[in-house]
Symmetry: C2
Subunit: 240 residues, 2 copies
């Protein structure tokens, strides 16, 4: 498809969608122009600060979202306060649990983020009308499942050092700016959040980070900014 032709196709869609990060993402990329218009009519762009809760665990949610910018963490907490991050989502991912209203987890902005919110009912209806959309969401669900299972291996069988290396590698390969070498990036998570993702304590995370720093695998600037001189070296620390 050439550029001029693609321009023409863009005419019929909502203005706000034309330059949207999620325009060709899981949901919107699978819609016809008329469906996109309908969804656009009922959707709301929202800017949320880091830490803002988008969906609360145990609540009835009536809306889904697309991530336009930023990182969202999916969390589960136990009654006694223990907490585990069970997924990280980056733009332009879809956030929500089709077909089920009550949420078994919370979704929270890990960084400042922009999201596009729309009603569950509308999307659920579109899903049953548009096989293309069903397929696309099915595909994201399967990818999330693959990622969850990969992470189960990390949680169950890797050492603290390997866990931290795994997370840094995950973030490096999903970081947004797509720098040439994807060799330096800002951590979207605090040490406490990293601990919650890896199933360990803040202190152990910190110790393992300084171990990686002292062994020259990474450099750390200002706590949040990580530089990886050699990605292969980092990958080797994961031992798989």
């Amino acid at each position: 498809m050439d550029v001029a032709h693609s321009r023409v196709l863009e005419v019929g869609i909502p203005v706000a969608c034309r330059s949207c990060q999620a325009r060709h993402g899981v949901v919107c990329g699978a819609l016809s122009n008329s469906q996109l218009r309908e969804l656009g009519r009922h959707s709301l762009r929202r800017t949320v600060g880091a830490g803002c809760e988008i969906i609360a665990q145990g609540s009835e949610s009536s809306s889904y979202s697309n991530i336009m910018r930023g990182v969202v963490k999916l969390c589960k907490v136990m009654p006694d306060g223990r907490q585990q991050i069970v997924g990280l989502q980056f733009a332009p991912d879809f956030v929500g649990r089709p077909f089920v209203r009550e949420s078994t987890l919370s979704a929270e902005a890990a960084t400042d983020a922009e999201i596009c919110v729309f009603p569950c009912n509308l999307l659920d209806r579109m899903i049953s009308e548009a096989p293309e959309l069903q397929r696309s969401l099915h595909d994201q669900a399967l990818k999330e499942l693959d990622a969850a299972r990969e992470w189960m291996l990390t949680l169950g069988r890797r050492t603290a050092g390997e866990k931290v290396a795994s997370l840094l590698y995950l973030i490096a390969t999903h970081a947004e700016p797509q720098t040439a070498t994807s060799t330096d990036f800002d951590l979207p998570l605090s040490r406490a959040e990293i601990a919650d993702f890896l199933g360990m304590t803040i202190e152990t995370v910190s110790r393992q980070m300084t171990r990686l720093r002292k062994s020259g695998v990474i450099r750390i600037e200002n706590f949040r900014h990580i530089i990886v001189p050699d990605m292969d070296e980092l990958e080797r620390m994961i031992s798989a």
Copy 2:
């Protein structure tokens, strides 16, 4: 739908399907009679012994399966031999990764099992032709994702004792015979497999089992048979 009418509908389907455990499962329950006939023509019922590998990690698989009887475990192993079970599937679940041929995990019969095997190509084609089937598989994928995330919480944040209780509870609530109280069952897993599921060692599993036994929460007969006098008591050991 009354019984007589339902009988009539059953006439057009393959003989082998009529009394099949998976007949109304994720895949076959979503097919029309003619699709069921076509799938039946290309499918193969197989009896496999405990320990038999159905799909190998890293291999190109060209077939999917339905579980008709038994339990299948999904496994990931690291190059150095460390191993993690990332999912358990019971009859009449579907086993396979739609849309992707190379498997990132292995599927292995945990108990003696009967499975119904059919070609990927055929089902993939049916998926794109039958929205009902796509929806059904999408639904199973989302349920597996929910289960995987629940298990991530167990792996990352629960103690050894809570982990064992979680597994016993999981199996009790998924056990096949559906005994009146679902209060006693055979473990489909050896101690080594339980350890691989929970991310711990055989010895720790054993110690936690005897701790549960001595505190009266469970009784153990012949290593594999578990009796739970009071399910609420077991649930309380999970502490969530």
